[in-house]
């Protein structure tokens, strides 16, 4: 028998937008496990939706049959989401939204991700694609952090 310990939820979905509700459901359950309230959870669902949408659009150029991996690590007061693609890597300094005062359709996804999550990190992974790590602290932990700083 192989040892098969696992400490997180791993999910892979095809890069078709029809899987976005499923991705949100997984993240919602992760946020529940971490004890996040409905408000915070809703914000995280927005961030992960923007992130997956960007993978489909930019890493996979709209191809809908490619693999997207999502790891959900539901800590006690912290949720970490690792989003892995096997597509085109772009220098993280080019991953940036438009200025918000220049109103036009699109171009605000990255802004929504960064304004929601406490840590946002794009790195090149071993598959040649991008791993986006997003971390959100729970209300309790965020408050404790503020107190000690």
């Amino acid at each position: 028998m192989m040892p098969a310990a696992l400490d997180r939820v791993r999910c892979s979905v095809p890069s078709h937008p029809k899987y976005l509700p499923l991705v949100r459901s997984v993240v919602q359950e992760g946020a529940n496990l971490s004890g996040f309230d409905a408000d915070l959870t809703q914000r995280i669902l927005l961030a992960v939706t923007e992130a997956v949408t960007n993978v489909i659009r930019h890493a996979y150029d709209g191809r809908d049959d490619q693999r997207i991996d999502l790891d959900v690590i539901a800590g006690e007061h912290e949720l970490q989401l690792d989003l892995v693609d096997y597509g085109q890597f772009v220098d993280p300094k080019h991953i940036e939204s438009r200025p918000l005062d220049e109103v036009r359709p699109g171009g605000i996804g990255v802004h929504l991700i960064k304004s929601t999550m406490d840590r946002v990190e794009y790195v090149k992974n071993e598959h040649g694609g991008t791993t986006l790590t997003m971390v959100k602290h729970g209300a309790a932990e965020a408050a404790a952090e503020k107190e000690t700083t």
Binding site: P17, Q42, P105, I108, G109, L112, S115
Partner: protein, 109 residues
């Protein structure tokens, strides 16, 4: 997502229900385009029963706002839940759109 269209006096009302994202916003865009093609005004989008909306949903609404602007029409939104309202704030769109509290107010002349 589900979109229902109604006429209230001169107003063309769209009631949007469910989740608006990259998968469903093209359908919402299609509904709005038909009305925009007819230069309908005011165009009202009721978001009361929207459980989720992302930046592709916002993009669709910005497109509609720009399109009504071209023929001097009006676009109004109503029924924004606190979470949806928060998204409009984050995107700095709350002052760009004509946001109304109730549907009755939004469809009035």
């Amino acid at each position: 997502m589900n979109v229902t269209q109604e006429t209230h006096g001169s107003a063309t009302l769209f009631i949007v229900e469910g989740q608006v994202d990259m998968h469903t916003s093209p359908e919402l865009r299609g509904h709005l385009r038909t009305a925009l093609g007819n230069q309908a005004s005011p165009l009202v989008v009721d978001l009361t029963d929207v459980a989720f909306i992302d930046s592709s949903g916002l993009a669709t609404l910005i497109e509609a706002l720009q399109a009504v602007g071209k023929y001097g029409g009006k676009l109004r939104l109503c029924g924004l839940s606190p979470e949806v309202r928060k998204l409009f704030d984050l995107a700095q769109l709350s002052t760009i759109f004509d946001l109304r509290d109730t549907r009755a107010e939004a469809v009035a002349d």
